[in-house]
């Protein structure tokens, strides 16, 4: 790698202030520090520093997302071929999905990083690694048939309004990726919801075999409320839903990365073992979700409420949200006690939105954004309690 190092050292001066490409200084610096950990040494404070940095942290999260991504590619192909009455083999399914999903990823990264690089240059900052994760999360929470221009617009909205106006990575209030999803959800409600968007080709009006429905488990479950369910039993609803094994493995329609709970668990294992994702939030969310599911069971006013609590973990984006999105260290609660409260509330509220609010079959996106909004408040009370506790501990001055 010596020649590469030499080459970089040679072209470096032209990116410095006054150089030919001074306007690309941040971009150059970003690429250089990506290729080589810089030779900067400590100048004050601790002389030695841990070898963890934000690049490592973010790349571990991206790595944890890979199982979901790979499964999502396969699943896209699988449902596409199923909808037109055929069946692809493993590679055909995967290749189809790859061709559909890769452009979404590319658009998300190009738009997002483009904005990040520009802003870093204007602010004369180093480029932040935060978007490495956001750029991967955005495609994974989109329906597969989302138009690319929509992805571009949503990404730009998320990065500019969601992050840069607050000062960049670390300063944002909401999870940028979810903001992109919310943007699409509210700006293009007609194009991008309903039963068709989840399966590649359906919105384009490709021939669909009879009796095929692209409905996600959540939209089926939502049929278990209101008048439609007046005479339905809990058993009937359960029989309409895909079976538990399929929902766990992910053989159901849904957003690209959210369907396979197995892949999500693999990602969770990586995040927990490396200590990079907060196990407290993950566990607390799961407990909150199960608790509210159980309370619904006790009330059992309609078939949806009779569903076993663990169905809520398997349906929709709950697992993906709890593992990858609610745990975003910047927008979640920052104190350990706060993380428990934040997670439990998130789990409870998701089930409430799903079961009691007919307007939204899924509550994960909005509830995470809502909890992001409340996270500073939760932390405020946790820290205030700490201040009081420490004051009490101090013995009176004799």
């Amino acid at each position: 790698m010596k020649f590469l190092r030499k080459f970089l050292d040679k072209i470096k001066p032209s990116f410095d202030e006054g150089g030919k490409y001074a306007k690309l200084h941040s971009t150059f610096e970003g690429f250089e520090s990506f290729l080589f950990v810089p030779k900067t040494v400590t100048s004050q404070g601790s002389h030695v520093r841990d070898c963890i940095d934000l690049k490592r942290t973010m790349s571990v999260v991206v790595l944890a997302l890979v199982p979901c991504l790979l499964f999502g590619m396969w699943n896209t192909g699988y449902w596409h071929y199923r909808s037109i009455g055929g069946a692809g083999d493993l590679l055909t399914n995967f290749w189809f999905g790859f061709c559909k999903i890769f452009p979404i990823i590319a658009v998300s990264y190009i738009v997002g990083l483009g904005i990040e690089f520009t802003v870093a240059q204007i602010r004369k900052h180093e480029i932040n690694e935060g978007f490495l994760v956001s750029g991967m999360l955005i495609p994974l929470i989109m329906p597969v048939d989302v138009p690319l221009w929509m992805v571009a617009l949503a990404t730009a909205f998320a990065v500019i309004i969601g992050k840069e106006v607050f000062g960049g990575t670390g300063m944002n209030i909401w999870n940028p990726a979810l903001l992109a999803r919310a943007f699409v959800f509210f700006s293009y409600p007609t194009q991008i919801s309903g039963d068709k968007v989840w399966i590649a080709g359906l919105t384009g009006g490709q021939g669909v075999v009879d009796s095929f429905s692209g409905a996600t488990p959540l939209s089926i479950a939502a049929g278990g409320t209101g008048e439609a369910a007046a005479n339905m039993s809990g058993e009937t609803l359960r029989s309409q839903l895909p079976d538990v094994f399929d929902m766990f493995m992910g053989f159901v329609p849904g957003s690209i990365g959210e369907t396979s709970k197995l892949a999500i668990l693999a990602g969770a294992a990586i995040l927990i073992l490396t200590g990079i994702g907060s196990w407290r939030i993950m566990l607390a969310s799961t407990l909150g979700c199960l608790l509210m599911g159980w309370i619904c069971n006790l009330l059992a006013a309609n078939p949806y409420m009779e569903l076993p609590p663990y169905y809520h973990l398997l349906m929709g984006g709950f697992a993906f949200g709890a593992i990858f999105m609610a745990t975003d260290p910047v927008s979640a609660s920052q104190t350990n006690t706060g993380k428990w409260i934040y997670g439990i509330l998130f789990g409870i509220l998701v089930v409430i939105i799903r079961v009691f609010n007919p307007a939204y079959p899924e509550g994960v996106m909005l509830i995470i954004l809502l909890m992001n909004t409340f996270a500073p408040l939760i932390d405020h009370y946790v820290v205030s309690a700490n201040v009081k506790r420490r004051l009490k501990r101090i013995k009176p001055n004799v």
């Binding site: 190092r5 950990v37 040494v41 004050q44 030695v48 520093r49 841990d50 200590g275």
Partner: protein
């Protein structure tokens, strides 16, 4: 009865080059220096000029704001150089030692030892007061204040572990004497912190002090952590702390009437050929140990430990409070895709690397920053290495916002740089935590006076 405080949080940084328990007596160094920058919270004013002859114990400078506080020469000899930096800031007073050492002598009577004020006066006159550090703020204590307690840590947990019990071998009597003196300076207690791993410590037999036992990783040996768990500092409280070896010097002074600033430092780190304990006089030039160090390539010479010490260069001087000279390689080389590599040869507190799988292994750490400075992103990271009921990120943000009330509430009285040094070590965003904390402390001093 002593109590055991179990601390679950913390981190032991596994480094190569711990000192072997062998004590080498060093000959007189060519030069000695007193560095005003070692002493926090004072404004130095010179008492000597170049060419003056001084004895060991003669004051070479004093605090402009409180001239009673004097700082003594460690050796007898001639003032060789007075080095100044930017804006004529006093950096070092360099003294060339005589072959035969002469000491300032003081008469210690039993009558004197009964009177707190006279003890303090004598400590001030003899230049011993600089041993007494005040919490909050970690500055030279105000001799007119009355501390609610005095704390001494009898063990060390910082990287490249130091065996204080070994350091104090043969000095137990002086240590006891020092503790007895300290007990007269406070109406409260003198607390001695000891490690649970070392029940055999000679210090267990010390009387006149309350012994508190701590178990846990670094920073359990930091006196700040011990204060936090035993007798926390609130607004208006004053606590004094002393280094264990200074307690010996103090005891020796009151036993013999002579301030002898001999101390033992560990010469350690991966660039030291034979890491050992050295018997030296405080302020000695490290050129005296040049043959014990591998100087090839770029090397960092640190007076103190690698977390909190001061870089002193190849021919610098041992600091007044330093118990170690740590010598490690500089990390001024770039590493291809370093952040993506397994880095099996590197130590990390993060489990995204693999050093947690080999807990017994020691690593060669260098001074590379290992990344670029970022905003606060990762949460919960500092809390894992700080065994105190304090939220460091909130405190640091309060300091950056210069919010005095918040700084007070969030625990600035209880912390000095060394207590947050590990937070700085583990920080993913490479935030200069110790520097920020010192800014906050300085702001507090300014605002509270």
């Amino acid at each position: 009865m002593s109590r055991v405080v179990k601390l679950r949080k913390g981190l032991n940084i596994k480094m190569q080059g711990s000192a072997e328990k062998v004590l080498a007596r060093m000959p007189m160094a060519a030069k000695y220096a007193v560095k005003p920058s070692d002493f926090k919270g004072i404004t130095p004013r010179l008492c000597v000029k170049q060419g003056d002859v001084v004895k060991a114990g003669t004051p070479v400078f004093e605090d402009k704001n409180n001239p009673a506080v004097k700082f003594a020469s460690p050796v007898s000899g001639m003032v060789d150089e007075i080095n100044r930096g930017d804006r004529r800031k006093l950096l070092e007073i360099v003294i060339k030692p005589d072959a035969e050492q002469e000491y300032e002598k003081y008469k210690i009577t039993d009558e004197l030892l009964k009177n707190r004020e006279q003890i303090i006066q004598l400590m001030l006159d003899a230049g011993l007061w600089s041993m007494v550090i005040q919490r909050p703020y970690g500055i030279i204590a105000n001799p007119n204040a009355k501390p609610k307690a005095i704390f001494v840590s009898g063990f060390d947990t910082a990287p490249l572990l130091l065996d204080i019990d070994f350091l104090l071998t043969g000095q137990e009597e002086f240590f006891q004497k020092g503790i007895d003196i300290l007990a007269k300076l406070t109406d409260g207690k003198v607390h001695l912190g000891l490690s649970a791993d070392d029940y055999a410590s000679k210090l267990n037999k010390i009387k006149n002090a309350e012994i508190n036992i701590f178990s846990g990783k670094h920073p359990a040996g930091n006196v700040g952590v011990q204060i936090h768990h035993i007798d926390p500092i609130g607004k208006g409280d004053v606590v004094w702390t002393l280094d264990a070896q200074h307690v010996v010097s103090l005891g020796r002074f009151f036993a013999t009437g002579v301030y002898n600033s001999d101390r033992i430092v560990a010469l350690c780190g991966s660039r030291v050929l034979r890491p050992q304990y050295l018997h030296v006089v405080s302020g000695a030039s490290i050129t005296a140990y040049a043959d014990r160090i591998d100087h090839s390539g770029n090397v960092r010479y640190i007076s103190g430990n690698v977390l909190t010490g001061v870089s002193i260069g190849k021919d610098g001087y041992t600091g007044f409070y330093a118990n170690r000279i740590s010598v490690i390689p500089e990390g001024d080389h770039s590493e291809f895709l370093g952040w993506a590599m397994p880095r099996l040869q590197k130590f990390s507190a993060s489990k995204s690397y693999f050093s947690w799988l080999t807990p017994a292994k020691n690593y060669k750490l260098d001074t590379n920053l290992n990344g670029g400075e970022r905003a606060f992103v990762v949460s919960g990271q500092y809390e894992k290495v700080l065994p105190m009921d304090i939220y460091p990120v909130y405190l640091l943000k309060a300091i950056l916002a210069e919010n005095i009330d918040k700084m007070e509430q969030l625990g600035i009285y209880e912390l000095i740089e060394e207590d947050l040094a590990l937070c700085e070590y583990v920080c993913t965003s490479k935030i200069e935590i110790q520097t920020i904390l010192r800014q906050g402390i300085e702001l507090m001093i300014k605002e509270m006076n």
